[in-house]
Amino acid sequence: MAKIVIDEERCKGCELCLAACPKHILVMSENFNKKGYHPAKQINPEECTGCAFCAMTCPDVAIEVFK
């Protein structure tokens, strides 16, 4: 059981987390945040292992990981 929480307002849509996720369960949202970026969002959350690679690569410290 693992979960991530993305702070959409901190996200600048750089996509580094997408590349880091070994399960490929991160995608860019179609919505815009207040800064005008498409924030990252998780799909298929049940596949998340809580490896935290996404959070580690996030340059804006926008991802929290729970396990």
Binding site: L16, A20, A55, M56, P59, V61
Partner: protein, 248 residues
């Protein structure tokens, strides 16, 4: 469920002003995590540079001073000599540390100032809009090397970690990269080691961090990470160049 990854206490809530995908934010977080882990946040004074990270004083939740361009190691020397029991670090870019501030970094290392230097090497000037840095790679196109860096007139990229590790009082010198999780984990370990050296009062420590500047490289953040791997790491090898054991 328990939170296993979150914002370290040594960072404020202020959102970073860096461009999307810029590695400065990762470097900030790693330093902040290390300060948290050593429980030294309240006894730390940081010195930020001139360059993109000039606003680091707003991001680090520790006492900070903003030095003049290149002078952070001198300013840090002044602080550390007054407060030898405080943790003092500088955070500098490649223009700051390897160009305008070469005298200050060399002599701080040579005196063995008991400070930790976080050196961000992204092979370009960021804040001024993408000019050639002392660490710009041969052939790399920048605003001021529009036909590529030509070593015949512009010299070769300076390897600061190797250069400084020739100095006897430099206790810990390493080079790490932030282009993928495995390297980020290693970078954190190295930064922790550098601060440990300072805590043990063993002298000067520096971690050179290879980072991306997607905006001025003209690449997407993911392409930039790849470019770093394929171009920077072969020229700037990762590893430890100096450890306290060698000094002792």
């Amino acid at each position: 469920m328990k939170k296993v990854f979150g914002r370290p206490e040594s960072l404020t809530e202020v959102p970073f002003t860096y461009c999307p995908g810029c590695h400065h934010g990762i470097a900030h977080r790693l330093v902040a995590e290390v300060l948290d882990e050593f429980k030294v946040r309240e006894n730390t004074i940081g010195v930020c540079p001139v360059g993109c990270s000039v606003f680091a004083y707003l991001f680090f939740n520790v006492d900070m001073i903003c030095a003049a361009h290149g002078r952070a190691p001198a300013t840090a020397t002044g602080i550390k000599r007054v407060k030898p029991d405080s943790i003092v670090f500088t955070y500098q870019g490649d223009g700051d540390l390897a160009s305008i501030g070469t005298a200050e970094i060399v002599h701080a290392a040579n005196r063995g100032e008991n400070i930790t230097v976080i050196f961000i090497n992204n092979a370009i000037y960021g804040m001024t809009g993408g000019q050639m840095a002392p660490t710009t790679l041969v052939g790399q196109v920048t605003q001021t090397s529009p036909y590529g860096r030509d070593p015949k007139t512009m010299g070769y990229p300076i390897k600061m970690a190797e250069m400084l590790s020739t100095l006897k009082r430099a206790a810990y010198i390493s080079r790490v990269a932030l282009n993928k999780p495995a390297n980020i984990i290693k970078a954190k370990k190295s930064i922790k080691k550098a601060f440990q050296v300072q805590l043990d009062k063993k002298g000067f420590s520096m971690v050179e961090i290879l980072s991306t500047c997607p905006t001025n490289w003209g690449l997407s953040p993911i392409e930039a990470s790849k470019w770093l791997e394929e171009n920077m790491i072969p020229y700037f090898p990762l590893g430890e160049f100096r450890t306290p054991e060698e000094v002792a």
